[in-house]
């Protein structure tokens, strides 16, 4: 009954008045920012990260999780109402969701998305509860070589997230690893790449980095066109889906939940792959596959459930191994470290109330979203119609003030601009930011484990292959890399992303 005790501890933490309030606030703010066209969950979390710094670790993580769910739901709202998905995982929703909106059924699409997400969230919470303890127990037995190989695997799999050239994604990882090294060397304390700036001794401010490559570069992309243009919005009429629509959605919701729960755990998986896979599956299974792409409710129900389940189970590798499976989790790890908590298998033992509280708050967050979003659709619609030329100065100022307030250091804002520029230029050159961020987060950890493994083995690189677990992890990484490069598989991946 240990599981039960853990759940009770989690619920006690998550249901404290303070935590429910911040979870609610997180969902609200997340939706508020996430609903803005072109702003995805990673950007939203990066922008709102400074708001959570003053809170204690559990509360701040619970609020961040709330922001994440809110941002995802906000992204779906935008995808359905204006066909402008903020990120890849809601791009699938836009296909049929927007068609439904054009036919005046936006209300049903939004409601089914919320209901599906809630069901998926509930199931996925249990998946996290069941699978986290054994995984972190296993990870506690990892030595430096195993950890090194695990990080390599995580990094390689993050390439699958990037659409486009594998070479570019790999180069982005390495560049991220290099930027992650800025600061004092862990063993000798020698400052590296700090250009004599004392504030760089602790490394580049993570929030400035993430907000720069996601938030600022996003603003720049949006400003390529005249920002005073207006977006067309299909106003939803009536929110309740019909009985028939409900019946058609049940199957996709549960299949999507299952698919998402499994795929979310895989490094490099998470929300995006889950929603693509679910759409493909529903299209194949449906007797009305010709309706897909013209407003089939199954095409909203399945992927929306899948991406929410995937979003949730992607917490598993982050919480148990300290390895982020995607960009959002990379930010979560950064947030944990800012709170002074070293992410990894020991979090469950040293901070049980944080660990279980966060998991329980996932369910609370999903419930809050359901009651929050449906009644507030009108407000989101009005927000969506605000022209971008009023939006971007606000986003810019909020992130600038937020980042400045974390350290009261002007250099961070110069870094914000610098990484905004680097991110923008690289994205223009088809180099995706997700592997860059992953590399940045994992850079120091990779170096530490590499150096320790080399010390223990007296400089014998074979140690990575001689240890069976490490060898297995590296083998998986090698196979994954091979599959990415092989032409047959590459074509399939391209078609998945083009769909």
């Amino acid at each position: 009954m240990e599981l039960f005790d853990n759940l009770v501890l989690g619920l006690q933490t998550a249901l404290s008045l303070e935590n429910v309030f911040y979870c609610f606030l997180g969902c609200l703010l997340g939706t508020l920012i996430g609903v803005l066209p072109g702003v995805g969950p990673v950007t939203t979390i990066a922008l709102l990260l400074p708001v959570t710094f003053g809170l204690d670790p559990s509360t701040s993580l619970i609020m961040l999780a709330g922001i994440y769910y809110g941002a995802q739901y906000g992204g779906s709202t935008t995808a359905i109402l204006v066909n402008l998905p903020g990120e890849a995982s809601s791009a699938v929703t836009a296909i049929d969701g927007y068609k439904m909106a054009q036919k005046g059924r936006a209300g049903s699409a939004l409601a089914i998305a919320a209901i599906g997400s809630f069901i998926a969230g509930t199931v996925a919470t249990f998946v996290v509860v069941i699978f986290s303890p054994p995984l972190s127990e296993m990870a506690l037995r990892f030595g430096p070589p195993e950890y090194f190989s695990l990080i390599v695997l995580g990094l390689v799999l993050s390439v699958t997230l990037a659409n486009g050239s594998v070479l570019k994604a790999l180069a982005m990882i390495i560049l991220g690893l290099l930027f992650g090294l800025v600061g004092a060397d862990i063993y000798t304390g020698i400052p590296r790449f700090t250009f004599g700036q004392p504030s760089l001794m602790d490394g580049i401010n993570f929030v400035a980095f993430a907000t720069g490559i996601y938030g600022i570069s996003e603003i720049l992309s949006n400003l390529e066109q005249d920002p005073s243009r207006k977006t067309k919005i299909s106003k939803p009429k009536g929110l309740l889906p019909s009985w028939d629509e409900m019946k058609r959605s049940i199957g996709p919701i549960f299949r999507g939940t299952g698919l998402g729960s499994v795929m979310g755990v895989l490094p490099g998986g998470g929300a995006t792959l889950s929603s693509f896979a679910s759409y493909a599956l529903e299209k194949k299974l449906s007797k009305r596959s010709e309706e897909f792409g013209h407003g089939a409710i199954e095409g909203v129900a399945g992927p929306e459930s899948a991406n929410n389940a995937g979003a949730q189970t992607s917490f598993i590798p982050m919480l148990t191994l300290g390895i982020p499976g995607n960009g959002v989790m990379a930010i979560m790890i950064g947030a944990l470290m800012i709170q002074g908590i070293q992410p990894g298998p020991s979090v469950m033992i040293t901070n049980p109330s944080l660990f279980w509280g966060l998991i329980a708050s996932m369910w609370v967050g999903n419930l809050l979203l359901l009651v929050l979003n449906l009644p507030m659709v009108g407000i989101w619609v009005r927000l969506l119609s605000t022209p971008y030329n009023y939006m971007f100065p606000a986003i810019l100022l909020f992130s600038a003030i937020g980042i400045y307030s974390t350290n009261m250091n002007g250099l961070d804002l110069t870094l914000l601009g610098m990484f905004g520029l680097i991110g923008y230029v690289l994205i223009k050159l088809d180099c995706e930011p997700a592997p860059f961020l992953m590399g940045f987060i994992l850079g120091p950890l990779l170096e530490e484990n590499l150096r320790r493994a080399m010390m223990f083995s007296r400089g014998n690189p074979m140690t990575f292959i001689e240890k069976p677990l490490s060898a297995a992890l590296l083998a998986i990484a090698a196979v994954a890399l091979l599959m990415l490069v092989l032409p047959a598989f590459r074509k399939r991946r391209e078609t998945v992303f083009v769909e």
Binding site: L167, L223, F392
Partner: protein, 159 residues
């Protein structure tokens, strides 16, 4: 003037060659700096070992990416206008530079006005309105609600 703003700024860029060049440039930068740090050896890596190794790998990737680009040629790419670029990247820096001497409120007003330069078709009234609303909002959220310890008016403006 206004009609010019509707047009998109399109530049021909060979994406792969440019990306490759950027990666090689970063590899050179990081690589050269890391030679200043003690290298150590494989069993006892110094602070310079790992960054030098990464820089070498990055250089190889960069060259490989650049080579694939030579077979493809340039594409037309829509880019952001230089003025908008400067306004967006510069406004956080402006905020950092002014928040101490001028204080929070003037810094926010200035920063939001500079940020709106990136939006060419706003009237002066719209710009001032946006700055006013943003200043009010930011002061309420950051100073009053979150309690960030920044002076509303800075040293230069208080006597």
């Amino acid at each position: 003037m206004n009609n010019d703003m509707d047009k998109l700024l399109v530049v021909p860029i060979n994406k792969d060659v440019a990306a490759g060049a950027i990666f090689v440039a970063f590899a050179l930068g990081f690589g050269l700096i890391s030679t200043n740090y003690p290298m150590g050896r494989l069993a006892q890596m110094g602070p310079g070992y790992y960054p030098a190794l990464l820089s070498a790998i990055l250089a190889v990737f960069g060259i490989a990416i650049g080579i694939t680009g030579f077979r493809k040629g340039a594409e037309k790419v829509v880019v952001v206008r230089p003025l908008a670029l400067i306004a967006v990247l510069g406004s956080p820096i402006l905020f950092a530079a002014t928040v101490r001497p001028l204080g929070f409120v003037p810094a926010v007003i200035l920063t939001s006005l500079v940020a709106t330069i990136a939006a060419p078709r706003m009237t002066l009234i719209q710009r001032l309105g946006a700055a006013l609303v943003l200043t009010l909002g930011c002061t309420v959220i950051f100073i009053l609600a979150l309690g960030i310890p920044l002076p509303l008016l800075g040293n230069w403006l208080t006597f």
